[in-house]
């Protein structure tokens, strides 16, 4: 725990504890992944976590292809209910395949607190290039909505590829989030440097977005292999000043706690009020002008 947090404790504010559940789900085995989630929820509870975050598609694994419809569930279904109940007073964020009432399948993440699902984010940017083929199997989401929570202020969720789109981060800034969460399934590519290249980029994005948004950014990435793809883990929490609060190990499973003082948001927003100074209406006008030029 950093001195910053001890200070805040002295002021009577309790640091928030987030458990980053860096797991290796079994590919296409919902039951075994449910058991893994229950196990991790119990560990997080023992660690006195206020929130436990799982990676993208944590209930199913990533390279699902034709399995997608077989694994799709509803956020109101028995599987999610069981996990939300198990979490008890702890908040929960996990990844799953959502089947909509119109039978569209989404790569989705949900946030639950107080015994109910508060928000579902459907991944907007479904990568379909190189090794990825998500668009073939999933319908894309159409909204970047932040939502209010009991303990964490306003939260925004960007799933993996969403996080690589500047516009998505800008919308989250306009949404005035306090905590930006990115559950991911990022495969390792680029092994020429001291770190895996994709891991390095995630770190840069996290630090940049944390500072630009004046928010805590938490990336929870999975580990393990699927058909030769190596998911690199290295889950991280970055404070609004761009400093790393906690980092999980590379390549191996772990439940890593990130403890942070919510008062740090206030301090950092005084020092660097970038989000406050955004000219949202200017941005909208400019985007409208560009829309006219490019689409009309």
């Amino acid at each position: 725990m950093s001195p910053r947090i001890e200070d805040s404790a002295a002021e009577g504010m309790r640091p928030l504890r987030v458990a980053m559940a860096q797991i290796a789900p079994r590919l296409g085995d919902l039951q075994s992944n449910l058991a893994l989630h229950l196990e991790q929820i119990e560990c997080a509870r023992q660690q006195r976590a206020d929130l436990v975050i799982f990676p993208e598609l944590s209930l199913t694994g990533y390279f699902l292809r034709d399995m997608v419809p077989d694994l799709a569930i509803s956020p109101d279904g028995p599987e999610i209910r069981q996990l939300v109940q198990a979490a008890g007073p702890m908040s929960l964020l996990l990844g799953f395949v959502e089947e909509s009432p119109r039978h569209r399948f989404h790569n989705a993440a949900l946030y639950a607190e107080g015994g109910r699902v508060v928000h579902v984010h459907r991944k907007v940017y479904l990568p379909t290039y190189g090794l990825f083929d998500e668009q073939r199997y999933f319908a894309s989401g159409e909204r970047f909505l932040a939502f209010d929570t009991a303990r964490f202020g306003r939260i925004g969720i960007l799933i993996c590829e969403d996080f690589w789109h500047l516009s998505a981060a800008a919308i989250m800034q306009a949404e005035e989030v306090d905590l930006l969460v990115c559950p991911s399934n990022s495969p390792a590519r680029g092994v020429d440097g001291p770190k895996i290249r994709t891991a390095e980029t995630y770190e840069q994005l996290s630090k940049t977005f944390a500072q630009l948004l004046g928010a805590v950014v938490i990336v929870v990435n999975r580990v393990g292999f699927e058909d030769g793809l190596c998911f690199w883990g290295g889950s991280m929490a970055v404070g609004p000043d761009g400093h790393t609060i906690a980092q999980a190990p590379m390549l191996d499973p772990s439940l890593t706690i990130a403890a942070f003082d919510p008062a740090e948001l206030r301090r950092q927003r005084m020092i660097s009020p970038l989000a406050r100074d955004e000219r949202l209406l200017v941005t909208i006008e400019e985007l409208n002008r560009i829309r006219r030029r490019r689409y009309e």
Binding site: R26, L27, G28, D29, F63, L64, R65, D66, M67, A188, V191, D192, G193, P194, K195, I196, G224, F225, E226, D227, G228, C230, M250, L251
Partner: protein, 279 residues
């Protein structure tokens, strides 16, 4: 300039690569329900690296290195394989294939050099898969990215395996990894050879060096440079065209046999599941 650029694209962090590949071996073997690996050890750089990785990932007692000599196999092959086995403490078995190869060709008539090389490679494959069942271990592949791209290997022979930890590493990169892993010096410095016939070397047979072709392929394949860009960078047109043709012509070796589509769902076309399905 492009030479330096190509070299930079071929750079690997050997420690990081080892960390990833050992976990790959461990995970993929266990998810298939095994704990052990079997590999054909030739005393060359590729199979030696795979032996070192498997020994690290699984423990030497869980690795079976099979030496599979034919009567023309060189003394260096035997000696260098032994050095790897001695250093790692892996299990080993020697299975000569001279009797069955010679019996076959006594029956069908003497082959060309290429047929003999392919026959030996496929015989070695059947030995490895039989030892795989006997040892209860998966066959670890030893084909590198240079060979796989150029098609410089025997389909269903040395290209056959259950898992391949080194298939995305060019030959040049394997040398760096081998040095990091502590592969014996004499293996690092000898000319790459399939030991296909007496005095055969890969580079003599291919007509270019791995250093040159890896630089070309990393730009052409990984970085997707166009022909004109490669020529501008100083690569000879004949060399570029020859390599491009080899990569294209041998693509069939890297694929499963093509299936005539008749139904709604056909294997690998619209019946799509990961190999690691359910594990």
């Amino acid at each position: 300039m492009s030479k330096e650029l190509a070299e930079s694209y071929l750079t690997i962090n050997a420690e990081l690569v080892t960390e990833i590949l050992c976990r790959f071996i461990h995970t993929e073997i266990r998810r298939a329900g095994f704990e052990r690996a079997v590999l054909g050890l030739s005393g060359g750089i590729d199979s030696s690296v795979v032996a070192y990785l498997c020994a690290r990932a699984l423990g030497p007692q869980n690795v079976l290195a099979v030496t599979i000599p034919y009567k023309t196999s060189s003394e260096a092959t035997r000696r260098d394989s032994q050095a790897v086995v001695d250093q790692l403490g892996v299990q080993t078995i020697d299975v000569p294939i001279t009797a069955q190869i010679d019996a076959y060709f006594a029956h069908v008539g003497q082959p060309t050099r290429l047929r003999m090389a392919n026959k030996c490679a496929r015989e070695r494959m059947t030995v490895l898969y039989d030892q795989s069942a006997a040892f209860q271990g998966l066959v670890a592949g030893t084909s590198n990215k240079s060979e796989l791209l150029l098609g410089y290997g025997t389909q269903f022979g040395d290209m056959a395996s259950a898992i391949n930890p080194i298939g995305d590493l060019y030959k040049t990169q394997l040398y760096r990894l081998a040095a990091y892993l502590g592969v014996p010096e004499q293996i690092l410095t000898k000319h790459p050879t399939g030991d296909l016939w007496i005095g055969q070397t890969d580079e003599g047979e291919l007509g270019f060096s791995y250093a040159d072709v890896d630089r070309l392929m990393v730009l052409m394949v990984d970085r997707r440079w166009r022909r004109a860009e490669l020529l501008r960078a100083g690569f000879e047109p004949d060399f570029v065209d020859r390599v491009a043709t080899m990569i294209r012509r041998n693509h069939y070796k890297r694929r499963m046999p093509v299936i005539a589509k008749l139904s709604q769902r056909t294997m690998d076309r619209d019946f799509r599941y990961a190999r690691d399905w359910g594990t």
